[in-house]
């Protein structure tokens, strides 16, 4: 039998229990941008105040393909973003949440808008985590230049120590969904079902690395498993870890997530 190595020692110490049960693992000090369809602020404020875990004031902006962002009025363009934000706050209630509404009243989302929101989140809001529970269909990125611009924005985030979590759109039979397909500089997330919302798994396939809990808690389709709900679960988990050590690099977070999974081998439901 081989003697234990330092790695065995690390795996033994680095467990979800130790990390997530730490009272300081609340997301405190971590700014997260929810690049989505806006957030209905009052719904979340009321919900968490009622639950006894008041949240920080949600700020944000409404982005357009061109021109400066419009002010955030505390409203959603559609309920999707509110469900996403609710998941993050459920796992890490003390994060500072920014709503980057990239859908706006038109209900559609262009690549340029997503890029503008990502850059704003990095440069202006100085976030540590960006949650992208959305996908740009492949046909909208047929032009290499557009695809390159989106990849460049994701790479910029990586080189600015910003973690990007993106929903994989793995159910579509033909097309791929971006930016999740840019797997390397970001964390692409598939949906799974776990007994514990803090549960997740490392399952490498196609452009996907992780699975997280795919059910939400608020909204009409929250109970329907979706990558849109899995992504904020993993982002929330990362926020909890980061609140213990905010200067962790994206690759360190990825590694820690992987090691946490190895140490427990949490089976999916």
């Amino acid at each position: 039998m081989n003697e234990p190595t330092v790695f065995d020692e690390i795996f033994a110490r680095l467990t979800p229990d130790r990390l997530f049960n730490d009272a300081r693992a609340t997301g405190e000090g971590i700014a997260i941008a929810v690049v989505d369809s806006g957030v209905e602020r009052s719904i979340l404020e009321d919900k968490f105040a009622t639950a006894g875990t008041p949240i920080q004031t949600i700020e944000g902006a409404v982005f357009r393909p061109t021109g400066p962002p419009a002010p955030y009025t505390g409203h959603q363009s559609s309920p999707h973003g509110t469900t996403v934000a609710d998941i993050i706050l459920t796992l890490a209630p003390r994060v500072k949440l920014y709503s980057a509404d990239v859908f706006g009243p038109t209900g559609s989302c262009e690549v340029e808008t997503v890029i503008a929101a990502i850059r704003h989140a990095i440069d202006v809001w100085k976030v540590k985590v960006i949650n992208l529970s959305l996908g740009v269909p492949e046909h909208k990125l047929q032009q290499p230049a557009r695809r390159q611009q989106l990849l460049r924005a994701i790479e910029e985030a990586y080189f600015r120590d910003v973690l990007v979590f993106a929903a994989a759109h793995n159910e579509h039979p033909i097309t791929r969904s971006f930016p999740a397909a840019f797997a390397t500089p970001l964390v692409s997330v598939d949906k799974g079902l776990f007994a514990d919302p803090l549960g997740f798994a490392y399952r490498l396939h196609d452009q996907v690395e992780f699975e997280a809990h795919g059910r939400g808690y608020l909204g009409p389709f929250a109970k329907e498993p979706a990558t849109s709900w899995a992504t904020p679960h993993l982002a929330g988990i990362a926020a909890r870890i980061l609140s213990l050590k905010p200067d962790l690099k994206p690759f360190e977070i990825k590694t820690i997530l992987y090691w946490l999974f190895r140490s427990t081998k949490q089976p999916p439901e």
């Binding site: 559609s78 999707h80 469900t83 608020l218 909204g219 389709f221």
Partner: protein, 402 residues
């Protein structure tokens, strides 16, 4: 193109004098001269004439006014200056009707200065009117061309119209209801105009319109589906009553919902919703069935929208062009044509005549009717009119014993 002036005078010295005055005037006009009506009409037949300077007495029983009647047959827009020693004899109304705009009295102060002043006055009026006529002519020709094309455009649009939009998508909705075992469905269409105006309409599988609702789209179930970009299921009504969304009236009380967005784009959001599949409700297989339905429905809608948009653009362009040409006609004609103003003055004058037995409108209508006959059928027809009126008067006299 320069204006053209025709001088008709049987006196050679007068013709030559008028020609010399015009040639040295610097007006930059083309001048034709003729000693009699016959040669004048030949010129008019071969050249466009803007202004005719006509001697009242052309000799051989012919006069300038009668010649003008004949000229008008060729060129209805011509205006004239009568040169006469008998200005008082001329019938002002008739002369005005025929296009006489000024008189020069040989017995009074006819000299180079008064002659050229009269010519300049008329040319100043002719130029804009001439320009307006050219524009009107172009607009009329354009309108005629467009009106000829319009039926063809409409026919082409009709041929290109695919299966009517509501029926095509309704058929898809009915198919999905049957295929999934749902008991009802709805199609929700929301359009956001460039000015931010939002309109939402919902249709049943049979095409009836669901009652309008004041729920903002951002708070709706359909908006949530649009953001998801994929089919979603909710089994159990409690899930949709947590305050995150508001339900449309036709969604209330549903036990289960399967919904999918049809990505149409262009400010239009379309969502297909299926309701109330008996327990255990909608399944993963139903969701998978919806995915290709999304593609088909979106293709149908996009194709239909695009073709309608093309047709609409074409119709809009044609409509705009017609309006523009009408605008040109409307704006230029009244302002540039002196006739309406002259008619108003005439009416006012007739109204002041205390001995008049008919109102000015009626008098002018009669004059207009006779003028029209003169223009179309010549002096003989006018004579016939006069005889008819005379006969009518005699008949009425006999009947009434006056």
């Amino acid at each position: 193109m320069n204006e053209t002036v025709l001088i008709v005078d049987d006196e050679d010295s007068v013709r030559r004098t008028f020609q010399e005055w015009l040639a040295s005037s610097g007006l930059g006009i083309t001048v034709f001269a003729s000693p009699d009506a016959e040669s004048a009409l030949r010129i008019v037949n071969e050249h466009p004439i803007d202004l005719a300077v006509l001697d009242w007495n052309l000799g051989s029983g012919s006069d300038g006014l009668r010649l003008l009647e004949d000229i008008v047959e060729f060129q209805p827009d011509v205006v004239a200056i009568l040169v006469t020693g008998f200005a008082g004899i001329a019938t002002p109304l008739q002369a005005l009707r025929m296009g006489v705009r000024d008189y020069l009295d040989k017995n009074a102060d006819l000299n180079r200065e008064t002659f050229l002043k009269a010519i300049r006055n008329q040319l100043d009026r002719i130029r804009p009117a001439r320009h307006a006529r050219a524009l009107n002519r172009a607009a009329t020709e354009f309108r005629a061309a467009v009106e000829n094309v319009l039926p063809l455009v409409r026919t082409t649009a009709a041929f290109n119209d695919p299966v009517p939009l509501p029926e095509a998508v309704r058929a898809l909705l009915r198919f999905l209801i049957r295929a999934t075992g749902a008991t009802d469905g709805a199609l929700l269409v929301r359009h956001l105009a460039p000015d931010g105006t939002e309109t939402t309409a919902a249709y049943s599988p049979t095409g009836e319109t669901h009652s309008a609702t004041a729920i903002p789209f951002a708070q709706s179930l359909a908006a949530s589906i649009v953001s998801h970009q994929e089919p979603m299921v909710v089994n159990g009504a409690e899930a949709v009553t947590d305050g995150a969304v508001q339900l449309m009236p036709f969604e209330l009380g549903r036990k289960s919902i399967l919904a999918a967005p049809l990505p149409v784009g262009g400010g239009t959001s379309v969502v297909l919703e299926l309701f109330d599949k008996p327990a255990p409700g909608f399944t993963q297989a139903d969701r998978q069935l919806m995915a290709p339905a999304m593609e088909i429905g979106a293709d149908l809608l996009r194709q239909s929208f695009a073709e309608r948009q093309t047709s609409r653009l074409l119709f809009d362009a044609v409509d705009a062009a017609l309006k523009a040409s009408t605008g040109v006609t409307d704006v230029l004609s009244p302002a540039e044509n002196p006739l309406p103003a002259a008619m108003e003055r005439l009416k006012a004058g007739l109204a002041e005549d205390t001995n008049a037995t008919a109102d000015p409108e009626t008098t002018l209508r009669l004059v207009e009717a006779v003028r029209s006959i003169a223009v179309r059928h010549g002096p003989t027809a006018v004579e016939h009119c006069v005889r008819m009126v005379t006969d009518l008067r005699k008949l009425l006299d006999e009947l009434t014993g006056t």
